[in-house]
Amino acid sequence: MVDNATSDDPAKARRFRDAALPHLDAIYTLARYLLRNPADAEDAVQECYLRALRHFDTLRSPAIKPWLFAILRNVCRTEYARRSVVQLRDVNAELDKAEEAGPLWGEAPETPETTMIRKLDAATIQRLVAALPDAFREVIVLREINDLSYREIAEVVGAPVGTVMSRLARARSMLRAAWLAAEGQPT
């Protein structure tokens, strides 16, 4: 590329806009699920675009979306970790704890496996997803809502594809249990 990466370079700003702005809704969606608070999500998305523009020259892959997601996730984990309203902890520590704790709330053993999964309304599904622990919530959102491939999810969360697969399997088991429980309740 001909330009030399100053932030007031109009050609660079233009390329960044063309590439990054179409993903605003997707980035905001991830922020809403990660932070569970609209005001924080807006702040995080703005910070994400600031950082992304600043580091746009370091983007080597032509796939900008996973890169933006990774920046957003980083913003959410570093900037908002200390806010009392948000309970973001170190994902890997949380994962160890979850695995040591054995079967998670209502997971498979008690699940009547012949039960059919029925459709739930969007608000209920959003509530169930929001209730998942961080490490599992993010893979579910990236896969089911943002439609990323396993490879892209691995890039975003900075873990091997195998780890993504096992987290997703566990996340879906947890969501299924919560889903079946919610089906039984009057809404």
């Binding site: 001909v2 330009d3 109009p10 050609a11 700003a13 233009r14 960044f16 806009r17 063309d18 590439a19 990054a20 702005l21 993903h23 605003l24 809704d25 997707a26 980035i27 905001y28 969606t29 809403r32 609209p38 807006e42 998305v45 703005q46 675009y49 600031l50 523009l53 892959s61 032509p62 796939a63 900008i64 979306k65 496996e113 012949t114 039960t115 059919m116 999964i117 029925r118 459709k119 739930l120 969007a122 599904i125 959003q126 997803v129 896969r143 089911e144 809502i145 439609d147 491939s149 396993y150 490879r151 892209e152 697969m165 096992s166 997703l168 399997a169 879906r172 969501l175 299924r176 889903w179």
Partner: protein, 254 residues
């Protein structure tokens, strides 16, 4: 395959992430194991319920304005056009703004025209060189994973045989110097090449154009850019686009 392995891999199966060999292994196991079969059915239902419900959030106008302030829109065309513009402006009384808009309207179509020419050339090559497909199958679950690792995009692949557009296979092609996915369909004896890329090489906006007698339909969705080329008539190509969009986003909101 054991149930433990199947428990993880069945997710990759329903997410279209397995190669053909592993997909078969999981299917063989699931056919013989009722417990894993139930799991697969439940997780498929969960996946389907989530993908047919709009669970996304739309960025509020206030956020859009804040992000726009971070990355202010520039009135400048890309550098080579700007240099051209300087040449014009030196010898004339045109104001920079007028000249800029003139250059944009004059030069944009040339750029787009060049891409369209390349798209049609790629379509013609695919018909002539016995190289219509790299992977030939009407099974969308074989075509989609085939692109994994060959491209940085995961193009949506759906069979539209029920609507009269039969999936023939997939191919890697090059447009504007970049690798793109080509998904190949047949309508009676006519071939439709659907090119999919992530960059905006195909230009913006949904349009129908006719180039060298071929109809070219352009659209973009969810960050992917689509370009369908065929010798079928414009209405049929429009119908193809609508069926494809409906099949890739079942019941999803805007």
């Amino acid at each position: 395959m054991t149930c433990d392995e199947s428990e993880v891999l069945l997710h990759a199966l329903l997410d279209d992430e397995l190669d053909a060999g592993h997909a078969r292994d999981v299917e063989v196991h699931v056919a013989a194991c009722s417990r894993c079969a139930i799991q697969l059915r439940q997780f498929r239902a969960l996946h389907a319920a989530m993908s047919t419900t709009d669970l996304r959030f739309s960025a509020p106008a206030s956020l859009r304005a804040r992000v726009n302030a971070v990355v202010p829109a520039t009135p400048y065309p890309v550098p080579n056009r700007r240099m051209l513009l300087k040449g014009f402006a030196l010898g004339s009384m045109l104001s920079a703004a007028v000249a800029a808009s003139l250059v944009i309207t004059v030069i944009r179509p040339d750029q787009d025209q060049r891409i369209l020419g390349e798209v049609v050339s790629a379509h013609l090559r695919s018909l002539q060189a016995e190289h219509l497909t790299d992977v030939q199958t009407s099974d969308q679950h074989t075509v989609k994973p085939w692109f994994n690792g060959r491209l940085d995009v995961a193009p949506p692949v759906v069979d539209l045989a029920a609507h009269g557009f039969a999936l023939v296979g997939g191919r890697l092609d090059y447009i504007d110097g970049r690798a793109v996915a080509a998904i190949v369909y047949r309508r009676h004896s006519h071939v439709i090449n659907l090119f999919v890329t992530q960059g905006s090489s195909f230009g913006q906006g949904a349009t129908l154009k006719t180039v060298q007698g071929f109809n070219v339909k352009l659209w973009s969705e969810q960050g992917l850019y689509f370009c369908a080329v065929s010798d079928i008539n414009a209405d049929e190509l429009q119908e193809f686009k609508e069926k494809f969009e409906a099949a890739t986003r079942p019941g999803a909101g805007p």
